[in-house]
Amino acid sequence: MLRVSDLHVFYGPSHVLWGVSLEVGAGAVVALLGRNGVGKSTTLKAIIGLVPARQGRVELATPAGWRDLTPLAVHERAGLGIGYVPEDRRIFPHLTVRENLRVGLDRLALTPAARRQALERAFDLFPALPELLERQGRVLSGGQQQMLAIARVLVLSPRIILLDEPSQGLSPLLVDSVMDAVVRLGREGIAVLLVEQNAVAALEVCAHGYLMDKGTIAGRGTAAALRGDPATLERTLGVTAADVEDAR
């Protein structure tokens, strides 16, 4: 579904991504794990086009075959079916929940029935949303903002969702419900590239994982294999075997 190869990104003179390569299959939930500041969020931003890649390719599988996204603008990449849910959610504070959903939805020329269906899909995943439709974005709680941020891209029927730290700042109960939502996205055939510092939670919901360290991919494997390799997890993530056991 998504293929990233040899991605190099610079912020000014500093070289922050050093040849990142990864793949996300159709409908797969893949985790990108690592400590703070190793380039996980930057990788997602480079995929959607918010930071320019100096070198490397980002390719997306479309019905017409693999498409190189590198020369495309941000809105064109999103238009091909990439949904981006940023770390800080970036809800439009002075738009209502309904208007937040309309920003993306209105660019698809949907029939009223298809539009209702798209919204139903999001409401199905987040049943609390319909009651909030007339609220302003700025008055939502962190959990509500996270729901809206995911719903806002889900209504666009994306092929893949880039999900940046969805558990950040949420209570453990809300983390569980967001992770449940991630599992359901995968079941519905939407690929997810999940960036998380909460590696334990992420490894519960993904099939594969990549470990990032200092701007490169330091390891990869199935979730089961990664969970079974406490030495590597501790080295790259600072997660101890006890943490993994506790989560069980």
């Binding site: 918010l50 603008a73 941000v74 809105h75 999103a78 940023p86 970036r90 208007e99 993306g104 209105d106």
Partner: protein, 288 residues
């Protein structure tokens, strides 16, 4: 001072104010949403006035036909500027866009001067006579300016509140990159904002033409005041720019009861400067 005079000047203030508001609302949209300071905006207003005059001179039968023609012409010139001269400077440092648009303004002024001469043009009132409003007998055309101007200001506001492009305009103002990341073609949103602002300025110039006369520098005369109105209203705040525009119109009109017109203008400017010192964020917050 009689009550009639006060009422008359209040009504006159509203008619000035509506015209200021038509100019300032376009500036606030471009500045607040695109971070684009358009010094040539006043000259689009000037072109609206010339457009009406020219249409009448070449034989368009009525002012009410000339007005939409003039507005269409200003819209076309505005969009032409957006896609030619302004595209390369867009997104550069503010000083560069400021100088570039100032230069465009000068070219437009000098172009009009070279083509139509320095003398101010006049066009007859499209409707004559007076209407009786309670104790007041008021020129019908001024009332038309107030009604038509306010109707268009409200129409543009409804567009911003209700339509897809309106939601996109507000979304871009709040978070440009997130709007793009949701797949919205942001450059096209800018074009709509630019077109809307240009059309509002053109309408302002066309409506004002029979009242104030037409000359190459009428845009330059109002642009400074319009920028201050925008600051007073809160940058990017559409409603604020309308409130600010009406406010400045009223100050000038009421000041004229006791003062010479230039003195009233000075008082208005002084008041605005005080307001800026006291409330630098504008009367209404810089709403996005």
């Amino acid at each position: 001072m009689t009550a009639e005079l006060l009422l008359l000047q209040l009504a006159n203030g509203l008619s000035f104010g509506v015209i200021f508001a038509l100019i300032a609302s376009g500036i606030t949209l471009m500045w607040g949403i695109m971070d684009f300071i358009n010094m040539a905006h006043g000259d689009l207003y000037m072109l609206g006035a010339y457009g009406v005059w020219l249409s009448l001179v070449v034989g368009v039968a009525s002012f009410w036909l000339a007005l939409p023609l003039a507005v269409a012409g200003v819209l076309a010139i505005g969009l032409l500027l957006r896609f030619t001269v302004l595209r390369p400077v867009f997104g550069r440092a503010p000083l560069q866009t400021l100088l570039a648009t100032y230069g465009i303004g000068l070219i437009l002024q000098q172009g009009v001067l070279a083509t139509f001469g320095p003398f101010s043009k006049e066009i007859p009132f499209p409707v004559t006579g007076q209407v009786t409003l309670g104790p007041l007998r008021y020129p019908t055309y001024r009332l038309v300016v107030i009604v038509v101007g306010l109707a268009l200001i409200v129409a543009a506001w409804v567009l911003i509140q209700r339509t897809t492009y309106g939601i996109w305009i507000r979304a871009v103002a709040q978070d440009r990159t997130m709007t793009a990341a949701l797949g919205v073609p942001v450059p096209r949103v800018y074009t709509v904002v630019f077109g809307l602002g240009s059309a509002l300025a053109g309408i302002g110039g066309a409506l004002a033409a029979p009242l104030f006369g037409i000359g190459p520098t009428i845009g330059a005369d109002v642009i400074l005041l319009a920028f201050i109105v925008v600051m007073i209203g809160g940058l990017g705040n559409y409603v604020g720019s309308v409130v600010g525009g009406v406010l400045i119109g009223e100050v000038i009109a009421l000041g004229a009861i006791w003062l010479q017109p230039t003195e009233a203008y000075l008082v208005a400017l002084g008041l605005l400067l005080v307001l800026l010192l006291v409330r630098p964020q504008g009367l209404l917050r810089a709403a996005r």
